[in-house]
Symmetry: C2
Subunit: 341 residues, 2 copies
DNA sequence: TTTACCATTGCATAGGTATGCAGAATTATT
DNA sequence: AATAATTCTGCATACCTATGCAATGGTAAA
């Protein structure tokens, strides 16, 4: 339909009566060009619809101004769309384009990272996905900085920023104990994720310290599995009186299971606490007590880290744990005055 | 920390004792290379960690194998993360990388499209964002095909694929009428979106045909505004008995407003119907009657259209409307036998 | 054995921009 | 007005890979 002729800087140069170099310089802010010349070039460029070719530029500057974002669980947990939104916005503000990969369970990072490296991304941000140390090494060899969001890799020199999941788990446990709940349970997310493992660890620590036996089910970070798990925990001889779910979505599943499925009351019969504090948690239907992840700060820290390591490759990686905040709403019993020491 | 030396095809060539051309050909499936040579090259490449530079390749082939996805509402409506997930997966399956832009209300497409064109994307897919005809023209001039998902631009020659929003609105209206509801209302999304306008149009058509007066509020496609709007509609002398919300998230807001806010019953006092059928709609807490958008088919159609127009630029654009499906659940009164003709 | 033919390979160049260096044009200095 | 100091500009080249064309080698046909 249309002439597929790409307009190059040379044509602009010819029309403006200058050299190609000058056109190039006109489009680079710091380059030395007479103000008048630049204006002429820019105006002609606009008229004929010229735009610099980022590929050619990247080839020579060795900077693509692209970062790779690898993410998963975008549909199963509303927390991650929010993360993606914030990440993407922040990268844009810093002049970085985003190459996105949404990973599914049937895919491995090992197939995705090479594609990112092939496109010369300046850095890679990985969230909700576990990075193998082999791949971490591959990126290191390639000289591309990697930052993990809410995951970590022990051996590597990737940066990472996590919510303090262990502390979060402890806080929840402590709240249950202060509320004199005696039969707690934990519904795990996906078994091999550090987030679920750490939240469980903190929670169980507190329970062990207080000599309280704790049940455990697996909800795979999704609503339906958590719904079923909650039924298991309650529909038994010695039902639990409190459930800590490793994320909010599962907490909703548990809530619905307890209320609609079992026809019990929350928090009178069962206290339920989640993790994330996604926007829905504050909706009247759920009114969920939960641990708020400091998304903004985690995003800011991650992006700033990655960008600074792109600018200064010799910088060492950063690793930081950021505290969450307990948000008490109506789905959990409140500690009575008496029981508070 | 690391030597930032990029490994090029020339080094592989030297080590393998072949020319750079041969290395290049070894990495291109259809190129004529002796099987043995290719194996040697590949193995050496793997050993020293060589990967072709996609930028350089794109420069010469004039194909970036990247498409741009422009999206918004990623956090406010769970429908769009799902769309993004499916789109991204489908593009990946077709060997296209995705450059992502998440647009916010304070941003204009006019700033974003040039960035995509600068990076030589082979095509652009826009969803949840309105494209100005000026920008449509700009892409056309550049020779880059554009496909719209759930939006359309009257004048342009962009492709678009929409759910049949008018028909969806009519179906909802008809259901209310069959259920003998007499005081219906519509809660609009964002005023200037074609989706909200069309759903309203279909709904109002039916109401007008039946001579039923219909109230109207605006919910801006978000939970809180719809919550407030629903209160308005019910907390008044002559309260409504049925509400059609332009998407599911607003329907949840309306539900919570009616039940928690006003302490009324759904569907006994008020019937509520949404649009989208996001996964949450089937949760027991909501159990929402809604119009399911045929996401899969819309995604498949959009991606296939864009890819085919990338391969064959002279192909004319496609425009198609795809029917949704009414999913009846518990939030709406069911037509009695008697009232069915 | 000679000729024809096919499968591989290398050479040379193109794709569009950025940048060091040197020359040209302009301004400041005396 | 002449010279020195700046500011601009153009030339030539590099970035890395893909590909048309010609040359090479080898094999099959005669």
């Amino acid at each position: 339909m249309k002439k597929k002729v790409k307009i190059t800087s040379i044509e602009v140069a010819n029309l403006a009566g200058v050299s190609q170099s000058t056109v190039s310089r006109a489009f680079t802010t710091e380059s030395p060009v007479a103000k008048k010349t630049r204006e002429k070039v820019i105006s002609i460029a606009k008229r004929i619809g010229y735009q610099p070719n980022a590929m050619a530029r990247s080839l020579i500057t060795r900077k693509s101004n692209m970062v790779g974002i690898v993410i998963s669980n975008v549909t199963s947990n509303p927390f991650y769309p929010e993360v993606l939104d914030l990440l993407s916005r922040k990268f844009q503000e810093n002049g970085q384009k985003v190459m996105l990969f949404v990973v599914h369970r049937d895919q491995s990072l090992d197939d995705i990272l090479p594609q990112l490296l092939e496109y010369q991304v300046d850095g890679i941000l990985i969230t909700a996905v576990t990075l193998s140390s082999a791949m971490a090494f591959e990126c290191e060899r390639w000289g591309t900085p990697v930052t993990l969001f809410n995951r970590y890799v022990p051996g590597s020199n990737a940066s990472w920023f996590c919510c303090d999941n262990i502390a979060g788990g402890r806080t929840v446990g402590q709240l249950f104990i202060d509320s004199e709940l005696k039969r707690p349970a934990y519904i795990a997310g996906s078994e091999n994720t550090s987030t679920s493992i750490d939240r469980e660890k903190g929670f169980m620590e507190i329970m062990n310290e207080n000599g309280i036996k704790t049940l455990r089910e697996v909800g795979n970070y999704n609503y339906n599995d958590a719904y079923a798990a909650a039924i298991q925990l309650v529909d038994r001889p010695n039902p639990v009186d409190s459930i800590f779910c490793s994320n909010d979505i599962m907490a909703f599943g548990a809530l619905d299971a307890i209320r609609s499925g079992m026809d019990l009351k929350v928090p009178e019969d069962v206290s339920i606490i989640g993790f994330d504090d996604i926007p829905m948690a504050s909706w009247p239907s759920f009114n969920l007590t939960t641990v708020r992840q400091p998304v903004r700060r985690m995003v800011d820290a991650s992006v700033e880290d990655l960008i600074s390591r792109i600018k200064t490759p010799e910088k060492p990686p950063n690793q930081k744990v950021i505290m969450g905040e307990m948000i008490v709403r109506g789905s959990s019993r409140i500690p009575s005055e008496v029981s508070m020491s």
